[in-house]
C-alpha cells in the first residue's frame, strides 16, 4: 500500500519533469505538442462507455478468450462472455457480482479488476496490463466515472473501416493498419490499438497486435481480419512473387483466347507478376476433362479419335458430348450423395438398403435431366410425405436433428460453417446464437411418423408438418421466429410450412450465398481448389481469392436459371481450365490463382474404376450374389456401407457431415500397401478373363502392345525412351504373362496414373 502510494507520487513527479523538459525543448514540433495535449484532455473528459471502450480492452487483453475467463465455466470464479458478445452479462460479472468487490470507484487503482490485471495482486493469468498504460486508463476512468453499465443512449457501434486501401505490397515490407470505428450520431474514433488482428496466411504476411502487417519472403494473397466489438473489417493484400523476370505482355493470353471469366484471372496474374503455364496438349486434355466430368478414363479409341479430330472447336464438342453421358450423372451423384449424407451404416439387410438406393437414384436422375439447381435444392428442403414415394425426403432420414438440419443446410447450400454459433457468437464472424436458433426454428415443425421404432435409422418414415413446434435460444430462453441466415424474419400462419419460405428465400436473388456456394463448389471440383477455400467455409475473414470472378460466375449462374451443365460449360471452356499442370518459372509457387492446373489424385472410386477399366476386370463388391449388378462401378455404389479396404484406404468419406473435406486425397502408407499387396488388386492382375491374360496370349509385338497399353492407361502414346524400356523389360522376362503383369502394375502405380493433371 505504502509503496504503491509512493509509486504514484513518483509517477506524478516524473510526469511533471517530463512535461517541463518537453516545454523547454526548443525544436519541439508545435503541432505535435498541440495534438498530444488535446488527446490527453479528451481522454480525461470523454465519457467511457462500457460497450465500446471497456469490452474491447478486455478482448484485446484476451481476458474473455476461450482459454481464460471467457470459457463456459469461467476462470477462478470470474466468468465473462466469450469475446465479449454478451455485455450485460459482462457488466454484471465485473461491477455487480461478488458484492461489487471487483471495482472500487472511491479509489479506482485499488479495484481488483486493475490490480489483478497489472499483477500487483496474484493473478492466475499473470500480468496482462501495464500500470498507467492507455488501456489501463480506459478501465480506470470508467471506474472513476462510476462504472456505468451498458447505456441504451450510448453511441452504438455501426461499423469499422480500414483507412488503408493499398492492396499490393512488396515482399518484406510493413504497413500499419488504421481501424476507424463509426458510431451512431456520426462520431468516429480511431480504434487501431483496441482492435484485434489475425492473418489468414502468416507465411505470406503476419500481423502484430498493433495492426502492423509485415509481408514475408514469398508471394501470394492474404487477408488480415481486424475485429473491434462485434464488427469485422478485412484487409486484403497482394504480394507479387519475386521472379527472375517480370513476364512480358505476350506471355499472357490475348483477349481473343480467353472467355469472360478469364479476364479476372489475367488481371490477378499480372498483379502478382506471374504468367500462366501454356495450354496443355490434346491427350492430357481429353484425360483431364473426361475424368473431371465423367469420373472415368477415356478409352483408347476415344483418345485416338480425339487426337485425329482436326476441327478447331473439338474441345467444346468433347465437353458437350461428355455432359450427355450417363457417367456424368453417376459421378456428380456420388459427389452429392456425399454432401447430402446418403449414409448406409445401420442397414445390414438388402431390404433396408432400398432407402439409400432410392435416394442415390433420385439424385442421379436429377442430374441426368439437368434439373435446375434451385429446384433440386428446394425439393430436398421441402420434402414431405413417404420416403418411398418422395425419395428427396430420405435426406431427413440421415439428417435427423435440428442442429443437423441447420448445420448441413448452411454448409451444403450456403457455404457457411455455423456450428460454433450453437454455443457462442462465432469468434470471427457475424453469426450469433440468435441467428443459429432462428434458422433452427424453420425446422421446428418437421415431424416424422411410421418407420419401425427400434431401428437406429428407420427406412419407411413419413415426413410431415406438425401443428406445433418451437425453438428457443437456450441461453436467453427467447422464443425464436423462423428466419434464414442473413435473411428477414418470416411472418407465417400456422398453416404454412416454414420450409417453403426458406426454400423460396434460399433460391432468390437476394440470398447472397446460394449461387456463390454452388459456383465455388463446381470451380473447386474442376480446379482442385475453390475461389473461396475451403469451398464450404465462406467468411468475411476467409475472402475469395478473386471476388470479381466468383461474383460474375454466381450472377450468371442465377441469371441462367441455375443451369448446372451451363455452369460446367463455362468453367471447362475457360482458358484457365486448359492450362498445363507443369509450372513455368514464374508460377511454381502459385497455389491460389489458377495460373496452372493443380493436379489432383483420382478419388477412391474413380481410381478403383480406372484400374478395373484398364485391366478389364470389374470389382466384386461384398454382399453376396444378386446384391449389386455384375460389373457395376464403384462410383455407382449407393452408400458408403459397402466394405472395401481399397476405398477406405484411398479416402472414401463416411458421410457423417456435409463437408466435402471428409473425402481425403492425402497419400498414405496404406495406399501403397493396398496397391502392392491387396487381394483385390492381385485378383484383377491375374483374372483369367482380364486384359493381362489377353496380352499374354495375343500375337502382337511387344511394341504394338506397349503403345496400346499406354493409350489405355495414361491416355497418351509412349515416348520413345519409355517404349524402349518397356519392350526391353518384356523381352527379358521369361513368362510373357508375368512380364505384362509387372509392366501394367508399374504403370498403374505411377503418379501420372493416380493423378488427374
Amino acid at each position: 500500500m505504502l509503496s504503491l502510494n509512493h509509486n504514484l507520487k513518483f509517477l506524478r513527479w516524473y510526469k511533471l519533469v517530463v512535461c517541463l523538459t518537453l516545454f523547454m525543448m526548443p525544436v519541439l514540433n508545435a503541432d505535435l505538442q498541440g495534438a498530444e495535449k488535446s488527446t490527453q484532455s479528451k481522454q480525461k473528459d470523454r465519457k467511457v462507455y462500457f460497450l465500446t471502450d471497456v469490452v474491447p480492452v478486455l478482448t484485446k487483453l484476451s481476458c474473455n478468450s476461450g482459454g481464460c475467463h471467457g470459457k463456459s465455466s469461467g476462470q477462478n470464479g470470474f466468468k465473462i462472455s466469450l469475446l465479449g458478445f454478451d455485455p450485460e452479462m459482462d457488466y454484471s460479472a465485473i461491477a455487480l457480482e461478488s458484492r461489487g468487490r471487483r471495482i472500487f470507484p472511491a479509489d479506482p487503482d485499488q479495484s481488483l479488476l486493475l490490480s489483478k490485471a497489472i499483477g500487483r495482486v496474484p493473478h492466475g493469468g499473470g500480468k496482462q496490463l501495464e500500470y498507467d498504460s492507455a488501456d489501463y486508463k480506459v478501465l480506470r476512468n470508467w471506474i472513476e466515472q462510476g462504472a456505468p453499465g451498458p447505456d441504451p443512449d450510448a453511441p452504438v457501434l455501426l461499423s469499422i473501416s480500414l483507412a488503408r486501401q493499398d492492396r499490393v505490397l512488396k515482399q518484406n515490407t510493413s504497413v500499419k493498419l488504421q481501424v476507424v470505428a463509426h458510431f451512431t450520431g456520426g462520431t468516429q474514433r480511431d480504434v487501431s490499438r483496441q482492435a484485434v488482428y489475425e492473418s489468414n496466411y502468416p507465411e505470406i504476411a503476419n500481423v502484430d497486435e498493433e495492426g502492423l502487417v509485415t509481408t514475408q519472403s514469398r508471394g501470394g494473397l492474404f487477408a488480415v481480419m481486424a475485429r473491434f466489438g462485434d464488427k469485422i473489417a478485412v484487409f486484403q493484400g497482394v504480394v507479387p512473387y519475386q521472379t527472375i523476370k517480370i513476364p512480358h505482355e505476350e506471355e499472357y493470353p490475348s483477349s481473343q483466347e480467353f472467355t469472360k471469366v478469364d479476364r479476372h484471372l489475367v488481371r490477378q496474374w499480372k498483379k502478382l507478376g506471374i504468367a500462366p503455364s501454356p495450354q496443355t496438349d490434346a491427350a492430357t486434355f481429353i484425360r483431364r476433362v473426361t475424368l473431371d466430368i465423367c469420373g472415368t478414363l477415356p478409352t483408347a479409341d476415344e483418345v485416338t479419335d480425339y487426337l485425329a479430330d482436326q476441327r478447331s472447336d473439338k474441345r467444346r464438342r468433347l465437353i458437350d458430348r461428355l455432359l450427355e453421358r450417363p457417367e456424368y450423372a453417376s459421378y456428380f451423384a456420388l459427389k452429392w450423395a456425399d454432401i447430402l449424407q446418403n449414409r448406409g451404416s445401420g442397414y445390414s439387410t438388402r431390404k433396408q438398403r432400398s432407402g439409400t438406393m432410392l435416394f442415390s437414384s433420385w439424385i442421379r436422375d436429377s442430374i441426368l435431366s439437368n434439373k435446375p439447381y434451385d429446384r433440386f435444392v428446394s425439393e430436398i428442403l421441402t420434402a414431405s410425405g413417404s420416403q418411398a414415394e418422395n425419395p428427396a425426403a430420405i435426406w431427413y432420414r440421415s439428417v435427423r436433428t435440428t442442429p443437423g438440419y441447420v448445420e448441413s443446410i448452411a454448409q451444403s447450400f450456403l457455404g457457411v460453417r455455423i456450428q460454433c454459433a450453437q454455443c457462442h457468437h462465432h469468434p470471427a464472424e457475424r453469426w450469433s446464437e440468435d441467428d443459429y436458433y432462428s434458422f433452427a426454428a424453420v425446422f421446428s415443425r418437421v415431424g416424422r411418423k411410421g418407420g419401425f421404432a427400434d431401428a437406429e435409422v428407420p427406412t419407411d418414415e413419413i415426413i410431415y408438418l406438425k401443428n406445433e413446434g418451437e425453438v428457443r435460444n437456450p441461453r436467453t430462453r427467447k422464443l425464436m421466429q423462423p428466419r434464414p441466415l442473413g435473411g428477414p424474419d418470416f411472418t407465417i400462419s400456422r398453416f404454412e410450412d416454414p420450409r417453403h419460405r426458406l426454400a423460396k428465400w434460399m433460391t432468390s436473388p437476394e440470398n447472397p450465398f446460394f449461387a456463390r456456394t454452388m459456383v465455388n463448389r463446381m470451380w473447386g471440383h474442376f480446379f482442385g481448389r475453390g475461389i473461396i477455400h475451403p469451398i464450404d467455409d465462406a467468411r468475411s475473414t476467409n475472402p475469395p481469392t478473386n471476388p470479381a470472378l466468383i461474383d460474375e460466375l454466381a450472377h450468371d449462374f442465377a441469371a441462367n436459371g441455375y443451369d448446372v451443365k451451363g455452369l460446367i460449360r463455362v468453367i471447362t471452356n475457360s482458358y484457365a481450365y486448359h492450362l498445363s499442370s507443369v509450372p513455368n518459372k514464374t508460377n511454381t509457387e502459385d497455389t491460389q490463382c489458377f495460373a496452372r492446373y493443380y493436379p489432383k489424385r483420382l478419388s477412391a472410386e474413380v481410381l478403383l474404376d480406372g484400374i478395373s477399366q484398364v485391366l478389364d476386370v470389374p470389382t466384386i463388391f461384398p454382399g453376396g450374389p444378386g446384391q449389386f449388378p455384375e460389373g457395376m462401378r464403384a462410383v455407382n455404389l449407393p452408400d458408403e456401407n459397402v466394405r472395401l479396404n481399397f476405398l477406405d484406404a484411398f479416402g472414401r468419406p463416411s458421410r457423417t457431415s456435409a463437408c466435402e473435406c471428409e473425402r481425403t486425397d492425402a497419400p498414405a502408407l496404406s495406399q501403397a500397401l493396398e496397391l502392392v499387396n491387396s487381394k483385390e488388386i492381385q485378383r484383377k492382375m491375374t483374372d483369367q478373363n482380364g486384359y493381362i491374360e489377353r496380352l499374354g496370349t495375343n500375337t502382337k509385338t511387344h511394341s504394338e502392345n506397349v503403345r496400346a497399353i499406354f493409350l489405355r492407361t495414361l491416355s497418351r502414346t509412349p515416348r520413345a525412351a519409355e517404349e524402349k524400356i518397356a519392350v526391353e523389360y518384356l523381352k527379358a522376362e521369361q513368362s510373357r504373362q508375368e512380364g505384362y503383369r509387372s509392366f501394367l502394375w508399374a504403370l498403374l502405380a505411377t503418379n501420372e496414373f493416380m493423378m488427374n493433371h
Binding site: 456450428q419 475451403p534 498414405a668 492381385q682 503383369r741 508399374a746 503418379n751 493433371h757
Partner: protein, 418 residues
C-alpha cells in the same frame, strides 16, 4: 485442415483416415535385444524417444511436487536416485532412474490451449508451418540406408498430424495404431518377392517422365509411401513375434506397456525417432485419481524402458523426452480437477547429449509462477536439437530458401547440454 478458422465440429471429431487400421488383434513385437545386437548398435546413429503425455500431465503430481502447500494436493514427494532431487510419490520406479534424467521446472508457454501448446512444444514456434522435432530428426539423423521410416508414432487414437512441413513427405510422421500391424503387409499369394521388387523398380522408371518440371512436393509423397511400404514389408517380423512374457510382465500388459515394447524394438532396429503417446491426462475433474491411475501405468513402463536403453548402451545415443502440451493449474477446482496451465510447469528429458541428474529452473513456493530460469518451447526445441548434435541456429536449406531451424529469438538451455 490448417488455417481452418471455422469452428467445425468435424475438426473436433473426424479422425483422419486411419491408414493403419488393422483387423488382427494385438500382435507381438520382436525382441532383438541380445547383448550382441546392442553392441552393434552402440556408437551408431543418434535417435529420439518421445513419450508424449497427452492432455497435459500435472507437474505437481510428477516432476515438481509441492507437498504440504496450499495447492500441493494429497501426494508426497519422494527422494530419487539423485541426492536432493525429489519427485512425486506417484513415480517410484522412475525415481530410481533419475540419475539418467533431468528435469526442467520453469516452462512458461503463455498458452493454455491444447493445440497451440502441442504445436509449440513440437515445432518450437508459436505459429507457422514448421516441422516437428521428429521430422527434423528423420531428415538430419536417419541413415541413408535406414530400414525403417524415420519418424514413427505409436498411439491408440486417431489424430494424424501433418509434421514435416517443407522437409518433405518422407520425413512425415508414420502413425501406428498401437502394435497392430498395418493391413496388406504381406506379399499376396502368387507373387514372389523378387517379382515385387522388380515391378517396384519398373514403377520408378516410368515415374521419371511425370516428375520433369514439376515441384517435388507433388510427387515425392506418393513415392515416399511406396518406399515406406517396402521398408515395413521387409521388417514385418517386428510385428509378428509375440512379446517375451517376461518383458510384458516388466512393462505391463496394458497398451502403453505394449507400445513401449514396440518402441524399444524399433529403436533397437535403427528407427530414428519413435514417439509413444500415452493418452488421458486432461484431468479437469478428479485430477488425483486420474493421475494415480495414469502415472501408475506410465511410471513402471517408462522406468523399465529407460533402464533397458541404458543397459543396452542405447541411452548415450538416444534422446529421451517426456512432455505434454502444458501442465495443470496449481489451483484445485471444485471437481477436484486441475485445469490447463502453460504458465509454470515441467518436463523430463535425458540420454543423448543431456547432462543427467540436473534440475533446471524453479517455480515459486506455491507453484503459481516460474521463479527462476524461465524458458518456453523455443528454448526446449534448441536444447533437444543441440543435444542431438544438430546446430539449431543454422538454416534449413530448402530449394534455395533459407529457413532458421530453431526460433532465432530463443537459445538452448546451455547448462543442460553435456
Amino acid at each position: 485442415m490448417r488455417r481452418n478458422q471455422g469452428c467445425n465440429h468435424l475438426d473436433h471429431h473426424l479422425a483422419r483416415r486411419q491408414f493403419l487400421a488393422g483387423a488382427a488383434g494385438a500382435m507381438g513385437l520382436g525382441l532383438l535385444g541380445s547383448p550382441a545386437t546392442a553392441e552393434k548398435i552402440k556408437g551408431q546413429h543418434k535417435r529420439v524417444l518421445q513419450i508424449y503425455l497427452q492432455g497435459g500431465v500435472s507437474q505437481l503430481e510428477s516432476w515438481d511436487p509441492k507437498p504440504g502447500t496450499e495447492h500441493g494436493g494429497p501426494f508426497r514427494a519422494i527422494p530419487t536416485s539423485v541426492p536432493g532431487m525429489h519427485i512425486s510419490e506417484l513415480l517410484p520406479y522412475t525415481a530410481k532412474q533419475m540419475h539418467l534424467l533431468s528435469i526442467v521446472r520453469s516452462i512458461n508457454l503463455k498458452t493454455n490451449d491444447h493445440r497451440q501448446g502441442r504445436l509449440f512444444m513440437e515445432k518450437g514456434r508459436r505459429a507457422g508451418e514448421y516441422p516437428y522435432v521428429g521430422s527434423i530428426a528423420s531428415k538430419y539423423l536417419a541413415p541413408a540406408n535406414s530400414e525403417l521410416p524415420g519418424y514413427i508414432h505409436i498411439s491408440t487414437r486417431g489424430l494424424t498430424d501433418s509434421t514435416s512441413a517443407f522437409l518433405g513427405a518422407q520425413h512425415g510422421q508414420l502413425k501406428f495404431e498401437g502394435v497392430k500391424p498395418p493391413k496388406n503387409l504381406a506379399v499376396p499369394k502368387g507373387l514372389d518377392e523378387t517379382a515385387d521388387a522388380r515391378r517396384v523398380q519398373l514403377r520408378e522408371q516410368f515415374n521419371q517422365q511425370f516428375r520433369v518440371g514439376r515441384p517435388k512436393s507433388l510427387t515425392e509423397s506418393f513415392d515416399a509411401s511406396f518406399q515406406q511400404a517396402a521398408k515395413l514389408m521387409g521388417r514385418k517380423e517386428l510385428f509378428e513375434k509375440a512379446p517375451d512374457p517376461k518383458d510384458l510382465e516388466r512393462y505391463g500388459k496394458h497398451d502403453f506397456g505394449r507400445n513401449c515394447l514396440l518402441a524399444r524394438a524399433l529403436l533397437e532396429n535403427n528407427a530414428t525417432c519413435v514417439k509413444v503417446t500415452h493418452h488421458g491426462y486432461d484431468s479437469h475433474a478428479e485430477n488425483f485419481n486420474f493421475h494415480l491411475e495414469q502415472l501408475g501405468e506410465f511410471d513402471k513402463t517408462f522406468a523399465m524402458l529407460v533402464d533397458d536403453l541404458h543397459q543396452r548402451g542405447l541411452l548415450e545415443s538416444t534422446l529421451v523426452m517426456v512432455y505434454s502440451e502444458f501442465g495443470r493449474t496449481p489451483k484445485i477446482n471444485v471437481r477436484y480437477g486441475r485445469d490447463h496451465w502453460g504458465t509454470a510447469w515441467s518436463i523430463a528429458l535425458g540420454g543423448c547429449g543431456i547432462q543427467p541428474g540436473a534440475i533446471i529452473g524453479t517455480t515459486n513456493e506455491k507453484g503459481t509462477a516460474v521463479a527462476d530460469r524461465e524458458v518456453d518451447a523455443g528454448h526446449l526445441f534448441h536444447t533437444y536439437l543441440q543435444a542431438l548434435g544438430i546446430d539449431s541456429t543454422n538454416d534449413h536449406d530448402i530449394a534455395g530458401r533459407s529457413i532458421p531451424i530453431g526460433d532465432p529469438t530463443a537459445q538452448p538451455i546451455k547448462e543442460l547440454l553435456s
